[in-house]
Amino acid sequence: MSLAIEAHDLSKRYRIGQMQAAYGTLRDSLTRVAARLTGREETHERQEIWALRDVSFRVREGEVLGVIGRNGAGKSTLLKILTRITTPTSGRAVIRGRVGSLLEVGTGFNPELTGRENVFLNGSILGMKRREIQRKLSDIVEFSGIEKFIDTPVKRYSSGMYVRLAFSVAAHLEPEILLVDEVLAVGDAEFQQRCLGRMEDFSGTGRTVLFVSHNMQTINQLCDRVIWLDGGTIVEDGDPSDVVTQYLQGSHSSGSHISWPDDESAPGDDLARLLSVRAIDEDGHTIDTIDVRDTVGIETRYRVLREGPAVFAKIRVRDRRSDIAFNAMDIAPHALDSSAPGIYAATAWIPGNLLSEGTTTADVAICTLRSPKLHQRAAQYEAVLFTVFDPGDGDSARGRFTGQISGVVRPLLEWSVERVD
């Protein structure tokens, strides 16, 4: 059987500064050059990270390959390389066949153009020939279900119509290799469901799919094989259920508890250092999963190294798509005075019936305040990870509903309902 994708030792290096400073003015760059020349450049600006490191794998024609891993594991970078949006720093990949991806739904849509005009524009951008678009035009329009508005400028479309038309174009691309990034996919639950449906149709016709997802159930269901990426390298490559099981175990044992053996390696500065972070239940036990109705604590232990401004902890909770659900910080009175040196344990208690279901992560930071600025002394991105589940007993915000619910939080609200007529 022939191969659709071959990747040999793919590596991609980013300079941290490159990622942070999305763009700057010429003066910024000149200042940086000056700082470098005079040796005053701060070291962290020159840090480099390997988003991918020596990743090799092969995908057979017709195979459905899943790619899993934590945020920042290199999944998106891998897709960007395979779609040629960015080039690898080293290594190479061979792709045989026309590539289509559902990461670029609606890319290049121009609000001033009509739906029909945008179909042609977007189709060309996705790599379709004019004749091909003409041939498929009626199918595309029909599939989108917006025939009536096809000659209206898309700036007058609702966001739902916009996404439907955009997806309809992408769905008719008929690539031989389909790349899907569920995390990046836009749109509501229904739209995501359609993406998945389209993928299933696809794999049914013997075409190759590379599917990046956080949803282990979908991965298990759709994929023939799974690659687990972590820190830019392949940790495991094999049968979906095996890899998913290992991934879930692996990420749980290390995910809900992180600690640093010594101050040297711990994040922080001369004032404060992180020691450990845990996700805990009300009894103080480290937990991997939590019932959506139960209180969960984020316990941050830190060391204050010297007398100085008041030090306090801050958390940032992210939902399953890594979107920020909320920020919270310790506002108790002690956060106003100076903190005495020593070890502290600060626990933020997140009430039950607030988080939404799925993989939840928390960034933690140790801060000092000089209003209106918050100064982060020590910080850890996605320090802990745990899963929120809803057993569906009917007394959560879900009630008796079993479908998908969107939103970064899912509070259980009090409803007052009375008959007014």
Partner: protein
Amino acid sequence: MSQTKLEPPSEQLVAEPRDDEAHLRPDRRTVVIRPASRWPHLDMRELWHYRELTFRLVWRDVVVRYKQTFLGVTWAVLVPALTTTVYVIVFGKFANFPHGNTPYPSLTAAGVIPMQYFASALTASSSSLVSNLPLVTKVYFPRVLLPLAAVVVPLVDFFIALPVLLVLMAVYGTWPDSAAVLLAPAFLGLAVSTALGIGLLLSTFTARWRDVPYMIPVFLQILPLVSGVMYALDQIPTKWQWIFSLNPMSAVIAGWRWAILGEAAPHWGRTTVSVSVAMLLFALGLAVFRTYEPRFADTI
């Protein structure tokens, strides 16, 4: 952070049979992804492959250009007509600029229209990467298409504006009097390649630094003054003409007037200097653009 790398299951490492069917399916493209080449070059075959996208990008900008304007495409005529009028009144009537044998209005219009093209082409191409940011970060295609499409789009305005010049030529009876008129497209081509060369250079620059949009208007205000838009270049001292010839637009306008208005032929030595500068700018722009192209998606 784990650095261990488990090899893929060994059965897949067995030397696979080459894809013997690939040559039977000519539509099936094999793409090899490699680190960015140290030696930037322009892949003409690839550009040809993407010709429909180029056309579509041009078409998009042409269609969108005058959307939601009351006068629509009339602006393509009005802008050069009004600019010419202002120049005629200010420089022709009051300042009495030298204009040789050609009536001042035709002389100016023949300068304003190519200059207008150049200004639009330069502005659009230098911001082409940034204004198509979603495309650059989400889809692959040769990025050269963006500045390329951007210098083609204003050609449409150029041709729509030509009647302004034709009307003035009819009024003043200045018609092309030799086969030189056949060279008019060549001088237009010089303007296109100059705009593309600088556009490639500046769009690369703009992908990293957003200073360029501030520089361009200043540059474009000075440019007509040193290109002989509102006066005939051969009216100034010769040693200055040599310096002015470093500006390719001076050759474009002088040559254009020679071809269209039957003015005296441009000085060929100075024209050669202008063409060389334009070619150098183009080569430099292309080299710089291609060098930084692989990094656009990461730094833009």
